[in-house]
């Protein structure tokens, strides 16, 4: 199908940090988790091999090194989002879903009158907001998103509300373009905004940068680091939370019937128990790496935009394929009326192309509201080459004749 020459070209085009990827493998499921560049793999390997220790509780040198690296990671993450260190803290957890649940399950009763979310949310937002409304006994609204991804709301919609929305859809990559206005309006109406930044953190940093939402939840494994959840949260909000998830590593004193949380380490308030130190350290290296690399001389976001457009244009030319996206994105979902998406995914897999099929945990929007068949989702990353995209489009064209 492709000549040896093209394969060599493929290798040449790929960032050297992904040179370990076999040329016959085309991984296009970065919305689930991204490929890890070699420096990130080296960083976590270095932790395991040269200073494998617990953080926050030991005095020996490996532990001190871990503490130093973890603290540096927290600061780097807050800086990466363009937020002031004095107002925010960064905590680590399991993944985005866990982070959102951790916050919503500890929001106090009485402070909020409603919970707001949008129709295109992942179940990681959709379900916890249902549970929040039940727990606090407040109203829940599901608002629409405009074609450009902006949340459509009135001031009454967000009065004294907990707004939980994604910054980038994991279906069609729609961006929350009115994020800054939404935050401003919500704060003015006495509410808070929690942003699901899982799909935005890696490739749409510009959208998030400087947005003073009350909390951001995202996953390090979707931004080139090891598997880890990240919460960036306002100090005021973390102080207001009820504390239901408590344990080791977060207290200064424990009495028979009570305890004191570490007063000067707010990030620990969301981190009961031992943390994934190697993964945290890998996140620091991933953020550093994102600021260093220049694929084809472009910034990561520019490169992603370029190949997203190539993918979008290529898919648009395939007859019989319906694209959900209104514009190019690193996440593109499609479907064909003639072949089931799961079957298409298996056919592509036989050609070495790995894409997702199904509803991507967005059951409400895709099944209940749009009543769509299962979708095929192609999501790309910095490891993706132009040849990868060409081969994917060519193969998709071919198997759609089946």
């Amino acid at each position: 199908m492709f000549s040896k020459k093209q394969d060599i070209q493929n290798t040449t085009d790929r960032l050297p940090d992904f040179s370990y990827i076999n040329n016959s493998d085309i991984y296009m499921d970065t919305s689930c988790q991204s490929m890890r560049p070699q420096p990130v793999i080296d960083a976590i390997t270095d932790y395991y091999q040269t200073y494998n220790a617990c953080g926050s509780r030991v005095k020996y040198k490996w532990g001190q090194k871990v503490d130093s690296a973890v603290e540096a990671t927290r600061e780097l993450v807050i800086s990466y989002l363009g937020l002031p260190q004095k107002e925010y803290v960064c905590s680590f957890t399991l993944n985005t879903t866990f982070g959102i649940n951790l916050i919503l399950n500890q929001l106090p009763a009485g402070d909020y009158e409603q919970v707001i979310t949008s129709e295109i949310e992942h179940n990681s937002v959709f379900l916890p907001t249902i549970e929040l409304a039940k727990r606090l006994g407040i109203n829940r609204k599901v608002l629409e998103r405009a074609d450009d991804g902006s949340l459509i709301y009135t001031k009454a919609d967000i009065n004294k509300s907990v707004v939980v929305v994604n910054a980038t859809s994991n279906i069609d990559g729609r961006l929350l373009l009115n994020i800054k206005q939404l935050i401003q309006d919500t704060h003015a109406a006495g509410g808070i905004v929690i942003i699901d930044a899982a799909q935005a953190a890696a490739h749409y940093q510009d959208l998030l940068f400087g947005c003073k939402a009350d909390a951001f939840c995202f996953s390090a494994h979707k931004m080139y680091a090891a598997s880890l959840g990240v919460i960036v949260i306002k100090k005021d909000l973390i102080r207001s939370l009820d504390k239901h998830f408590v344990g080791g590593g977060m207290v200064s004193a424990v009495r028979e019937q009570g305890y004191d949380l570490l007063p000067d380490d707010l990030s620990s308030w969301l981190e009961p128990g031992l943390q994934a130190y190697g993964e945290i350290i890998s996140l620091k290296r991933a953020i550093e790496w994102l600021s260093e690399i220049k694929p084809q001389g472009l910034k990561p976001a520019e490169y992603i935009h370029k190949i997203s457009k190539q993918l979008y244009d290529g898919l648009s030319e395939i007859p019989g394929l319906t694209i959900l996206n209104k514009q190019p994105s690193s996440v593109i979902s499609v479907y064909s009326n003639s072949i089931d998406a799961h079957r298409l995914a298996i056919f592509l897999s036989a050609a070495g192309i790995m894409v997702r099929s199904g509803y991507f945990c967005c059951h409400y929007y895709l099944i209940e509201k749009l009543q769509l068949p299962p979708l095929l989702r192609i999501s790309i990353g910095l490891h993706t080459t132009e040849d990868d995209i060409n081969k994917t489009i060519k193969t998709l064209k071919k198997v759609l004749k089946a």
């Binding site: 089931d340 799961h342 298996i346 056919f347 897999s349 071919k398 004749k401 089946a402």
Partner: protein, 358 residues
């Protein structure tokens, strides 16, 4: 059908491959839904089918629909053949229990059975009957065979007493000793396995333990009612029966048994077994000549031999042979020759020396 077919295939593979057991379990769940008339788990069905079709899709996508239909047809056929095979296995098992052979119409064709000369029945195959426009006859034949087998289950479980099946004119190997139990063997003089059984009987000195009687049963050809499986068996049987009504005094072993012993153990001057010679080299006249010569050796004079000739070709002997056949066909109901009844049991086919010590 695909789910069921996949389960059959995966279940077999899973016997040898642990890695396929999870998939087989999925297929089983799907099969369970199908057999309880619920829709199959489409994710398993589609996933498995898509995997099978993926290579075709990437090479010749236009053939995918055809291959898809092909998979459904193959699945259907596989399920039908599997069910059919299971039924055949079950029926064969039942046959083995009742008749001692998995195929009562051709006992010697069953490798699970003891060596035997089968009483074959020519049954037309499905396609043969279909070509004659009578395909349903095949199902009727199968049903009849099965019904007959089921009807004979009680007979298999009964206690067998050889005395209940003795022919009208019975001779024992040695003169009857009322202190010994009776054993009855049903034989065809031309049957190689009967010759082997006779050898085992002699090795076990079975004839010393039992009052050993026999019924000579010339097996008919399955394809021609006027012919016999072994061409001269009927001729030999005629003479055996004639000898029973023309005994010779002062013989330790009755003359008919001596003739049988000659056939089963004797050889000509070229080292050819008499049984083989009678089966393959001699016509009816030559067989009669050979028997006459043996009768002379035993001690019959020429007048007696003429009388035996006359009796052998008489209607009376023909009727005796017919009655004996009825005992075998309708009372004993064996499909395997030799059959021997002793010690409360019926043994079909060759019996080992050790088993004759019972």
């Amino acid at each position: 059908m695909f789910c069921i077919a996949a389960f059959i295939v995966l279940a077999i593979i899973s016997i040898f491959s642990a890695s396929h057991r999870k998939l087989a379990k999925k297929a089983w769940n799907c099969t369970l839904r199908r057999v309880t008339f619920r829709p199959c788990d489409t994710s398993f069905k589609e996933e498995a089918k898509s995997k099978l079709l993926s290579r075709v899709a990437n090479k010749t996508p236009k053939l995918v629909k055809t291959a898809d239909i092909g998979i459904e047809i193959a699945s259907f056929a596989l399920v039908i053949f599997t069910i059919w095979s299971l039924l055949v296995v079950m029926e064969s098992g039942l046959n083995l229990f009742v008749w001692g052979t998995c195929n009562p119409n051709n006992a010697s064709s069953c490798s699970l059975t003891a060596e035997t000369c089968s009483i074959d029945k020519a049954q037309k195959g499905f396609w043969e009957l279909a070509s004659e426009g009578k395909p349903f006859d095949w199902f009727v034949n199968q049903a009849e065979t099965l019904g007959n087998t089921i009807a004979n289950i009680p007979a298999r479980l009964q206690s067998w007493n050889a005395s209940d099946y003795l022919p009208q004119n019975v001779t024992y190997y040695y003169a009857k000793d009322s202190a010994k139990p009776v054993a009855l063997e049903i034989i065809d003089p031309g049957c190689r396995v009967c010759m082997q059984l006779f050898g085992n009987i002699k090795s076990a000195k079975f004839e010393d333990t039992y009052n050993l009687a026999y019924i000579s049963y010339p097996i008919k050809s399955a394809y021609d009612d006027n012919k016999y499986k072994f061409p001269n068996s009927y001729t030999v049987t005629k003479y055996l029966e004639a000898l029973k009504i023309n005994p010779l005094s002062n013989q330790k072993v009755s003359p008919d048994w001596q003739i049988l012993e000659k056939i089963f153990t004797g050889e000509d001057n070229k080292g050819v077994s008499y049984q083989v010679k009678i089966n393959t080299q001699l016509n009816q006249t030559q067989t009669e000549d050979l028997i006459r010569s043996w009768l002379s050796d035993i001690g019959y004079n020429s007048d007696q031999i003429r009388q035996i000739d006359t009796d052998a070709n008489s209607q009376k002997i023909a009727d005796i042979i017919k009655q004996n056949k009825q005992i075998v066909d309708n009372k004993v109901k064996t499909v395997k020759i030799p059959t021997i009844i002793f010690n409360g049991q019926r043994h079909d086919g060759l019996v080992k020396v050790n088993d004759l010590h019972l």
